[in-house]
Amino acid sequence: MARPGAFATEDEQAPSAEEHVVVFRLGQEFYALDIQAVQEIVRIQPTTSIPGSEPWVEGITNLRGRVVPVIDLRRRCGVQAADHTSDSRVVVVGGTTGMVGLIVDAVTEVMRIPVDQIEAPGSIVSVPQNSYLRGIAKLEDRLVSLMDLDGVLPSREMGERDEAGQTETIARAA
């Protein structure tokens, strides 16, 4: 098995190497996330929006007592917004910034994709921001874009901490 989130390097690229992924639909396109990163898939549930947050942050939701931020993946990926349907789901992933829910149009399947069917993201991609993608799998009937979780979940801007007190100390010490 390849390491999650990374291309197999030459020495670990055995003929049988494959990636175990969860495939979901966003508009007309299919995307996949490494199954290791997916913690669970739940139905759309009520979210509380956060005033002043980025437009692609749907809000926060209560997942069995935990406060989990939810991202509208359509808006995040620049796909035209659409109403949620009964097929819509929240894919809960564990990123570097903790648990996050991603709203997708439908979760279609869990599958294994042979590594030799995965190519680097190139001109065939129709989604403008291809920094979220780490590869394209060419399957018999369709293309599946492999999503890079860290690209989807931006790291938070730093430097918000109140350092006023420390600054004072520096000023005097100088």
Partner: protein, 694 residues
């Protein structure tokens, strides 16, 4: 064995925890008790001190810490003589015992760091022995045996001494860098950078040039000074990776004086501050016996485990609320279906579960509570040191030490309290001469009191000094551009005193007067507000000042007023809310085009809550709206909300790293129906709006 060398002790990880916990406890006890000993020695107290030293001797000997065992043995001998009335515990004796205690602390830390700190107790032991032999020449023995200041040049010790006299702290910091780190030079440089960000570094070994040239090695020693605590140094060092054990030792005037050829000012013999600890009346007798009994019936529990329990109970409370809602919804259905018996069972089980859950929550909350004594016990020593440093005579009176509060709050309150107390002595109290001239007793009094009221705990630090000069304060605030002249002049004396909390304000008259009030008080307020607390000050010229800290009993839950704005439920912590009223009944004016609320003769800005948070008015609110008046320090703001939903205890949950610190919000809370409400950061929102309006 020499400084910096690795040490081996005979204990595993679990033992280590046990050892440090026990050692910390005994050292803390010694710290308080030794200072008390000087004031009023009684047999019980001496016995208590003797036992603490004896316990430390036993545990250090068990793990094979020979120097620590030997020093405690020497202390024990002196204490035994005191116990048998062969020796009177005058200030010289207590001085030496306190020096020994400081050395013990460093030695105890070696067990965790496993690195030789360079402390050799032989000279202190010699002094202890001199005392026993009735040899008053003991003071002539150099204290440099603690080796901390000894390793630095006398000129450096001199500099540090000046810093101490100016009200700063000085530390001897020894940092080791992991042997596996291949570029220790870079780490040394980083260490220097991080430390210089919080204080001054007058001396390093190897020297600064070598470090800046990247030639540092696997160990670095330096002198650090500034208006900082040990925790600041440690936090700064946390930012550097690949660090091995770190030893941070607070340097005292005595130690530094011993390392410099010049006699310091300040510590005049015979001018000792008097200390008195007042036990709360009810707990006065047999309190020691009670403490002893308690100890034998208690079990140590990891704080993380308690936090985990607290979280679980928080979730249980939410489920209970949901269950009650389900029961209400099911009630008519079950009645219609003629399922009386089932309905009754349902009712009984739900109400039982409710009661049990409440009790469980209460019990777990209690198990996290600690008496505030654990903070107050540090104060007598602090008062002794600070008052000697500034040449003041101080009597410290403490009461309410049994008052309990959540341990997370205790951790946060210690630094602000120390800061306030230090300021009260340094700036609040006059010198003995000034006091005499003002017709006051030469000895000033500082009273520290803790008490409970409703769901808050209050801590008061009161001095009988000169009070805060509001005229100077007004001028300073205007000079520094913190406040407009007309506003400053219009403020009542009561309001003007609160200027002391403005960031960047210092009333110090000279530059050397570095523990200037403003710098510290700003930090004090920030720290207290971080735990949903409040701090206020009252002052009367010539009579003294009183700082009152108000804190919630626990950080896990907050009492809040629940409101609705733009379809979202918000929790406004009650500590900041002053009142709520119908918009229709509020006295609202338009001043310069801004809506203004008049309440009790005062005007303050009226702002739409959702708008203040950056949520535009997308939905036109229906029905009557409400005004929630809120106060933060001297600032007041009225918030317009769509609905009032009542008061509630809310369990505070973080918004998570992805959302991060959102303007005006401190977190989220789970509501009765399972959805989330947002908790408002009242201090920041009020300050921002009040400023914006002004």
């Amino acid at each position: 064995m020499a400084k910096g060398q690795p040490l081996q002790f005979d204990l595993d990880e679990d033992d280590l925890k046990l050892f440090t916990e026990e050692a910390d406890e005994q050292l803390e006890l010694l710290d308080t008790a030794l200072v008390q000993l000087e004031g009023e020695p009684d047999a019980e107290l001496v016995q208590q001190i003797f036992r603490a030293a004896h316990t430390l001797k036993g545990s250090s000997a068990t793990i094979g810490h020979k120097r620590m065992a030997s020093l405690t043995h020497a202390m024990e001998s002196v204490l035994d003589a005191v116990r048998q009335n062969r020796l009177s515990p005058d200030s010289d004796v207590v001085d030496v015992l306190l020096v020994a205690l400081d050395a013990l602390r460093v030695l105890a830390a070696e067990v965790t760091t496993r690195v030789h700190s360079g402390t050799e107790p032989a000279a202190i032991e010699a002094r202890l022995k001199d005392i026993l032999d009735g040899n008053d020449g003991g003071a002539a023995v150099s204290l440099t045996a603690t080796a901390r200041p000894a390793s630095m040049p006398p000129a450096v010790a001199d500099t540090l001494l000046a810093e101490l006299n100016a009200g700063n702290q000085a530390f001897h910091v020894h940092v080791t860098i992991d042997a596996s780190c291949e570029l220790p030079g870079i780490r040394c440089y980083q260490v220097l950078q991080e430390i210089e960000a919080i204080g001054a570094v007058p001396w390093t070994a190897p020297d600064r040039d070598a470090i800046e040239a990247g030639n540092g090695e696997h160990s670095l020693t330096m002198a650090v000074t500034g208006l900082i605590e040990e925790s600041h140094v440690r936090t700064a060092l946390d930012a550097v990776s690949d660090l091995g054990p770190v030893v941070v030792a607070l340097l005292s005037v005595d130690e530094l004086a011993a390392a410099t050829p010049v006699t310091p000012l300040g510590s005049v013999p015979g001018e000792r501050p008097r200390l008195r600890v007042v036990e709360p009346e009810a707990a006065a007798p047999a309190s020691e016996a009670k403490a002893g009994k308690k100890a034998s019936q208690s079990v140590r529990i990891d704080v993380e485990r308690l936090d985990g329990l607290m979280n679980l109970v928080g979730e249980l409370v939410i489920d209970r609320t949901r269950l009650q809602q389900i029961r209400e919804a099911a009630n008519p259905v079950l009645k219609d279906a003629n399922l009386q018996e089932l309905l009754q069972n349902f009712e009984e089980t739900t109400s039982h579960l409710t009661r049990i859950t409440d009790e469980l929550q209460e019990e777990i909350m209690r198990s996290r509570m600690l008496p505030v004594r654990s903070v107050l016990s540090r104060l007598p020593r602090l008062v002794r040191d600070v008052s000697a440093k500034c040449g003041k005579k101080v009597e410290l009176i403490m009461s309410g030490e049994e008052t309990e509060l959540d341990r997370s709050v205790i951790e946060e309150i210690s630094d602000p309290l120390v800061h306030i107390l230090r300021n009260a002595i340094d700036h609040g109290l006059e010198s003995p001469e000034e006091r005499r001239a003002a017709g006051k007793p030469e000895t000033g009094t500082v009273t520290v009191t803790a008490w409970n009221q409703e769901t808050y705990i209050y801590l008061s630090v009161k001095d009988d000094g000169k009070g805060i000069d509001t005229a100077t304060l007004r001028n300073k605030a205007v000079e520094k551009g913190l406040i407009a002249r007309d506003v400053a002049d219009a403020a009542s004396d009561e309001a003007a005193v609160q200027f002391i909390f403005l960031p960047g304000l210092s009333t110090a008259k000279t530059l050397s007067d570095v523990s200037g009030r403003g710098v510290g008080m700003d930090i004090v307020r920030t720290n207290i507000e971080r735990v949903n607390g409040n701090v206020s000050v009252r002052s009367e010229p010539g009579k003294g000042s009183e700082f009152i800290i108000q804190l919630p009993l626990t950080l896990a839950t907050t009492k809040a007023l629940m409101v609705m704005a733009q379809q979202t439920v918000y929790a406004m912590p009650l500590v900041s809310v002053t009142e709520a009223l119908l918009e229709r009944e509020a006295d609202i004016h338009s001043v310069n085009g801004n809506r203004t609320l008049r309440l009790r003769g005062k005007l303050f800005p009226l702002i739409d809550l959702a708008q203040a948070l950056g949520d535009g008015p997308s939905v036109e609110p229906e029905g009557e709206r409400f005004v929630v008046a809120a106060r933060h320090g001297s600032r007041q703001v009225g918030f317009l909300v769509d609905r009032l939903l009542g008061e509630q205890d809310v369990v505070v949950k973080s918004l998570g790293d992805l959302i991060g610190n959102r303007k005006g919000l401190t977190g989220a809370t789970i509501l009765g129906d399972g959805t989330l409400g947002l908790i408002i950061d009242m201090p920041s929102l009020i300050s921002e709006q009040a400023l914006f309006a002004a």
